[in-house]
């Protein structure tokens, strides 16, 4: 009888975990596809103060972004979210601007507003999510965030300096001093992270952005001749139970 009950206790657990992971992966894949299809202007009404986060049944973005996510600024962007993000990222920074001169390219806002909507089923099911853009050259795994000398422990201040930026949910030090799916404060035993390639073509040599000093990050510099080398960003989404 002990064998029978032991069998019953373990039977199907592995299959159950596989099916849950498959669902999460399929969901995140659907989210990633939506980045390329959904037009940014349709997200103009998706805001943290939109009033559809009922009775604490979903993750409250106001705690992360503040009172207003500024989704309304997407109203005139009649292109896909992916196009807006690429325009924002082409200078090497996800900061809602193209270059340093302040030309508007609200890729960061578009991603925030999109994920606020498409992650609702997971939020209402009691999950947290995190979205980040990994830069093509500077991603450092967690083990690199260690102190110097004999200290071998995780160092938040090292992580803050080293970890690739910018963050989709970055608000300085108010709520998440360290960001990322590698954050050790996340319950990593049940975290699922999915990375997808996000290739951006840098400006051509004749582009006005190439002439301005400090316009582009080092790795996003224009090429003088021949075809440009694409910037191989990664979009990483992680989901974990709250």
């Amino acid at each position: 009888m002990a064998i029978v009950f032991t069998f019953l206790n373990t039977y199907g657990v592995a299959q159950d975990n596989v099916i849950r992971s498959a669902h999460t992966l399929n969901y995140v894949q659907s989210v990633m596809k939506s980045i390329y299809f959904i037009d940014a202007n349709t997200l103009a009404q998706a805001d943290s103060n939109a009033g559809d986060c009922n009775k604490g049944d979903c993750q409250d973005e106001r705690g992360v972004y503040g009172g207003d996510m500024n989704c309304s600024q997407l109203e005139n962007w009649r292109v896909s979210v992916g196009d807006v993000v690429k325009k924002d990222l082409v200078d090497g920074r996800l900061d809602d601007k193209f270059g340093t001169q302040g030309a508007e390219a609200p890729g960061k806002t578009a991603l925030r507003c999109l994920f606020r909507e498409v992650m609702k089923p997971f939020r209402q099911a009691g999950y947290h999510y995190f979205v980040e853009v990994l830069e093509p050259t500077s991603y450092s795994p967690l083990q690199n965030f260690k102190g110097a000398g004999t200290e071998n422990a995780y160092k938040p201040e090292v992580a803050q300096r080293t970890y690739p930026a910018p963050w989709i949910t970055d608000t300085g030090t108010n709520y998440y001093a360290i960001h990322g799916c590698d954050d050790p404060r996340i319950n990593a035993t049940s975290l699922i992270a999915v990375s997808t390639p996000f290739r951006v073509q840098p400006p051509g040599k004749d582009d006005a952005a190439c002439g301005a000093e400090g316009m582009l990050e080092d790795y996003a510099e224009c090429h003088e001749s021949g075809p440009n080398t694409p910037l191989d960003y990664q979009l990483r989404v992680c989901v974990w139970p709250a």
Partner: protein, 179 residues
């Protein structure tokens, strides 16, 4: 020789038969319980695998027009569910500006004429797929749809109308339950 009170080889040891019978009953009960638990777990896994397979098909492209959805319904969803021996409903919903999941009826498609609903179930209560919210329909759903697996996925849909060039927020609900 006279054998007083001797009632046979078994009858002479009646007290020891009780624990033996009890043991046999417990053993058989354990086997029956194990069998039913095993079957229930298999049925649950089968439902969830079927729901996942339908969801893979529904979310393959990332965007769906109502024509594509109806084509998928006839050519993929219904044959697969029939082969799997389950009831199902795949519901395409157009939200456009904001996704509203709170207290929404998962069987209701907001496409005119329920065009965004694909199912092999015949509902006794017509309110199940004609009522937008859950108010007044939750009992009917509970009566007719038992132990359902429900999966939701985001999908891009034409907004604000079916013939619009803009793509906005939509949701696909995949619901599978036993016949």
């Amino acid at each position: 020789m006279k054998r007083n009170a001797f009632i046979g080889p078994l009858g002479d040891d009646i007290p020891s038969i009780f624990p033996i019978v009890l043991g046999v009953i417990i053993f058989i009960g354990t086997i029956l319980y194990a069998n039913s638990a095993y079957n229930a777990r298999n049925a649950d896994l089968h439902l969830r695998k079927t729901a996942l397979a339908l969801a893979y098909t529904a979310t393959e492209k990332g965007t769906l027009s109502i024509q594509e959805f109806q084509k998928l319904c006839e050519n993929s969803f219904k044959p697969y569910a029939a082969h799997a021996g389950t009831k199902f409903a795949v519901v395409l919903k157009r939200h456009c500006n904001k996704i509203d999941l709170f207290n929404q009826n998962p069987f209701y498609s907001n496409y005119s004429g329920n065009a965004g609903l694909c199912t092999n179930a015949v509902f006794k209560s017509t309110s199940i797929n004609s009522t937008p919210g859950m108010a007044g329909v939750s009992t009917a759903i509970a009566d007719e749809v038992k132990n359902a697996v429900v999966l939701n996925y985001p999908v891009a849909v034409n907004c604000p109308q079916e013939n619009s060039a803009t793509l906005g927020l939509g949701v696909i609900n995949v619901i599978v339950w036993q016949k």
